[in-house]
Symmetry: D2
Subunit: 391 residues, 4 copies
Amino acid sequence: MNKMNTTTQVDLIDLYTSTRQYTESICHALKTEDYVLQPIGEVSPPKWHLGHTSWFFETFILSKFDVGYQSFNPQYNFVFNSYYESVGKRVIRVNRGNLSRPTVGQVYDYRRHVDTQIVRLLNEIEISSEIQKLMILGINHEQQHQELLISDIKYIFGNNPLFPVYDEGYPIQKLSKKRKPIVCQEGLYEIGFDGPDFCFDNEKGRHKVYLNQFAISSELVTNDEYLEFMTDGGYENFVYWHADGWDWVNKNNIKAPLYWHFHQGEWHRYHLDGFKPIEPDAPVCHVSYYEAFAFASWKGTRLPTEAEWETACNKFDWGQRWEWTESAYLPYPGFKKEEGAIGEYNGKFMVSQMVLRGASEATSPHHSRPTYRNFFYPDARWQFTGIRYII
Amino acid sequence: MNKMNTTTQVDLIDLYTSTRQYTESICHALKTEDYVLQPIGEVSPPKWHLGHTSWFFETFILSKFDVGYQSFNPQYNFVFNSYYESVGKRVIRVNRGNLSRPTVGQVYDYRRHVDTQIVRLLNEIEISSEIQKLMILGINHEQQHQELLISDIKYIFGNNPLFPVYDEGYPIQKLSKKRKPIVCQEGLYEIGFDGPDFCFDNEKGRHKVYLNQFAISSELVTNDEYLEFMTDGGYENFVYWHADGWDWVNKNNIKAPLYWHFHQGEWHRYHLDGFKPIEPDAPVCHVSYYEAFAFASWKGTRLPTEAEWETACNKFDWGQRWEWTESAYLPYPGFKKEEGAIGEYNGKFMVSQMVLRGASEATSPHHSRPTYRNFFYPDARWQFTGIRYII
Amino acid sequence: MNKMNTTTQVDLIDLYTSTRQYTESICHALKTEDYVLQPIGEVSPPKWHLGHTSWFFETFILSKFDVGYQSFNPQYNFVFNSYYESVGKRVIRVNRGNLSRPTVGQVYDYRRHVDTQIVRLLNEIEISSEIQKLMILGINHEQQHQELLISDIKYIFGNNPLFPVYDEGYPIQKLSKKRKPIVCQEGLYEIGFDGPDFCFDNEKGRHKVYLNQFAISSELVTNDEYLEFMTDGGYENFVYWHADGWDWVNKNNIKAPLYWHFHQGEWHRYHLDGFKPIEPDAPVCHVSYYEAFAFASWKGTRLPTEAEWETACNKFDWGQRWEWTESAYLPYPGFKKEEGAIGEYNGKFMVSQMVLRGASEATSPHHSRPTYRNFFYPDARWQFTGIRYII
Amino acid sequence: MNKMNTTTQVDLIDLYTSTRQYTESICHALKTEDYVLQPIGEVSPPKWHLGHTSWFFETFILSKFDVGYQSFNPQYNFVFNSYYESVGKRVIRVNRGNLSRPTVGQVYDYRRHVDTQIVRLLNEIEISSEIQKLMILGINHEQQHQELLISDIKYIFGNNPLFPVYDEGYPIQKLSKKRKPIVCQEGLYEIGFDGPDFCFDNEKGRHKVYLNQFAISSELVTNDEYLEFMTDGGYENFVYWHADGWDWVNKNNIKAPLYWHFHQGEWHRYHLDGFKPIEPDAPVCHVSYYEAFAFASWKGTRLPTEAEWETACNKFDWGQRWEWTESAYLPYPGFKKEEGAIGEYNGKFMVSQMVLRGASEATSPHHSRPTYRNFFYPDARWQFTGIRYII
């Protein structure tokens, strides 16, 4: 994707086609029933992801640039719009899971239709820079939904008492045992994206930040280490927690990361390969910001800021877990929302959420970079989130 | 069914088999996706109904009377149990719609398995009166779920903005225009079930009641009449409503019966034949007890008690709508809960609910009788409920 | 009060005056701060009771019959109206506790003003039967609020960790140890109020009811007996409970009657004389309908209906506790709401509540009669409620 | 206070005494009833503030340094503790308004007692630097509650339909009409507190920040300007709002700042001098962060960051309104929580809240400085909050 700005027509069509296929390949293990559910507000039904990503291309490419285009089904704008207030009345988010129709088959038909029309259009017309920009945005948007698909499928399966297996051979992440501090000297650094390639609007505005000296761990926190925190009473001692975090722990009776169950005298976890004992060497996963913060407090240290993370990240391996930072999700200097519906993409979420950096095992190939800013509310746990701390 | 106490083995097997088939025939128009949803707490996913009715026969017949019977899947007790606290930990009711597995196919396999085993068992053994009683209970239980299936499917379809059609030719109820008062004289009457045939425990204990003279309408309230109430400001004037009902109207912004929509200058309704203008002559449907009461108040009259209804019902046609009565659901004199899980069937719901009498277009054949006591909370609207008043 | 219909002017003024004074005497032990709180929705601030009962006389007597009467403060209609939708916009019930003004002193001024004007008016005019009827209603209304004042003060004190004492010498109810069954034969009886004296509209319509033979306990359930139920796991076994009751127990973690605390190895209770060990022989108090029902189920019996209670009550002592019955609060045959705001008094609450019969130690003198129908939701516990069962 | 580190014994006692008196002077206009209420969770009853600030000195000074000190009332720790988890079980925050006892008189007695003992102790002992530090902290803590007292009293009065007047002559803030941009050049700046005088722990750690060039308004936004935003449909157009803010507007039906009412064709506001038409030239007050952000978006600009604000603030007048910044409340580099209960003061709130800078008309004298970091949730409006934007 780094060469996207010099993409030829053929390359763009190839990239579009392979992205669209990859989305569907994630759903290979699903039964029809699995496509329909929304067990909690954050988790969308897989068929909604399939429809919504298609709706994006229909709305922002076909409807705008394909003269005389007739929408596949005018009601789909209502059903598959997500948070784009300027495009039409949306099905409110928590209701996505109450719609059995359109069926999964109809949603795949919709994908087929959009794919055919997009490829035809791209072949027929001169691709303006505006179209190219929107196509690349749509592809990146779809890649984001690929990761959401994986985490949402995990939630749908992991909250079913039958614990269905998604893939028996789903790979398990392991960590190096050698941990060393990565030291960065005090000074003026630059963070943020700059360059001709694609990035989201929230990464733009490369700018100077002044950092004090710090050292960051070369490795993520493992299940083993996290169990020490649990065994040491981490969830029972308010002193490690934010006030909000402590309320969250008590109100929800939190005792362990999401998907962990104490079963027959041993901690187990659900993962896409099924219900199994936890792997001590795997990086801890599915923790909230509250938990990441409490763990770091217990350790006598803290999480990195996003500027520290970005400055140091080329000196350690990352990409297994989305790493909670101590930074709130706020605009970079000079941030401007784009005009129209596209402008709703990122800016309007810049309050009350925390930044995560890196990427996870569920992130799509070619969809990560050091400047990427992911963000979730501090209690979110269904993403593949982990912990790296300041040493 | 009236002759159930003299049923031969063959008759019982026939009755079982035809009841089971009728349940599945209700689902003929469903897509796989339609089986999975639970849009509100009261509505269960169709596949849950299919599984739960099978679980009933497995738990109360096969596990008890078939020596060495192995349950089809031990976890299904957890998944398909409903409110039987004494049988095991149940999936709490509102979570039924969060389970994509077992799949619809697996649920039908479960039905096949239970059907085969029940028929085999009934052919092999001497059918004791206990088994016969439980079989008849299970069949009646399944008939109740047949009606719930229809109303739940209607809710799933009727709350989808695409308004799927269940059956284009689904028949529409019409009413005679001639309305006359059925007069019953003051005196001592008997109500409640007595006799050798099946009834639910809540109908038992035929007992004397003293009634003052009353006259009851020979016909149900029509859509036309209900529209008059609406047009006359029925939903805006507290004077017709219970205090609880008035709160309910305002908190939920109620303006019309469930499934009614004001569309292009005209009231429409969703029904199993699709989204269409309301039929003036059809009996009003999907009203809560609060609405039935308010309508009667507006009319200057009241709803009948269940004793009045039962006393008069042989003089008018009934069976189109469940008819709200002014009676709370309470035990009859001498009511005793049965021992064990079967005892949880009815008695434990005898608080805060209202009695409905009659039957509806969705009630299964052979499943209605004058002594039948249906019951719902006063705000329930998703059943085929209507209004008959005292003249 | 029995001779109210022949009351002379002087008698009516005396009755008014003594009733008004009795209300204030209940508040003798209050500090200013105690008048202001509303710790739960059901409990009103004492100063609100003082104001609301005055508002009743101002609105229904002075404003209607005293030509040229100027309201003491026009905003008080907004502040002290309770549930009379037809009289003006009310402060919604849960907000009563958020108003520090009018001050307690101003509320007493308001009472003084209303008292002076009422007495003046009654002395000046010919007292029509309409005025007499409304005055008697207002006096009975105030007597109801006298009982609410006592139970609300108890709640305000009993939920303060300092457990303030209202009156060190507050008398404790004790029960006879001799319990015998009161038997009533099967047959046709009459219940409901008939006669020239005052009663509430919900008691009117003396009517025939047919009762089967029953026997009712001559004594209420004691704390001792209730402790047996608790010790026997009554709160842990769903089999004794309604489904709604069982949910209530679990959601609210109910383990004992309201105001009971397990303290230093022994059950204590808060009462108006302070925090003390429970008295074994006192009639159990502050139980919900759910608990009364569960206790009776555990005992293998049931609560009486209100018709049974009324039929038998002249053969046993009553008046210590409001006694939960198995009857839902519904209209008697022929019940008609009165016109206007007065009609809102009782009828609009006739859904989802249960009838209590008798009276309690907190009921005002001359305010009880065998036909009195009190009513609360099945989870209410802050009134002086107890249990009498069918033997 | 700037010379606090060289304070003599006498100065410290004077400062303590005058601070304590100032707190009580704020309450001069209160009736007993006004001290008791907690209409919303954020607002504490005035008597609680009086008790809690005394509890602070009793717990952290008298109990620790006064040998043999007996607590005034051991239960007061339970009643007047706020969020100090390590000191004992607290009355959960929303319950503060349900306690009529201790009475206002008792709370004043408690204050008298603590004051006498503190003054005696300070006269008797050698004042260690630890004691001095804790005394100064307690005095600053009390000053914070002075401001809360004013805003909480305003809420208690401003939500009463009688709109009580606190002080007829309460001064109204006015703004200069001349607005000019204060320009700061790009470069490396330092922010945070450094020096021997008192500051809160969250201000410590003076550190370098790199800022791009910016210009900030010399004046706050006026009511007039804010009305333009309202008139231009600011509350009806999602494009100006965060997604969370837009939900907040719609769920709470927000149309104007807190305390604004449209009355007889004109916007009025409640303020401590009563209910009056809004003053066009006064700085807008009682807006949430969501509203401040939306206003700035509508204006085509943004709020300052806290670093920008601190860098520029010596070039403009501030102190009328707490000014929302675009900065989330997060730890400064090197921030460390103190050991024990004192450490709970600030650090545990560092998530999901926004920083406000400056001070307000309700802030106590000598309690403001350029490095002060106030913080509230983005929906909070009951403080004297306003808007200054980047030009």
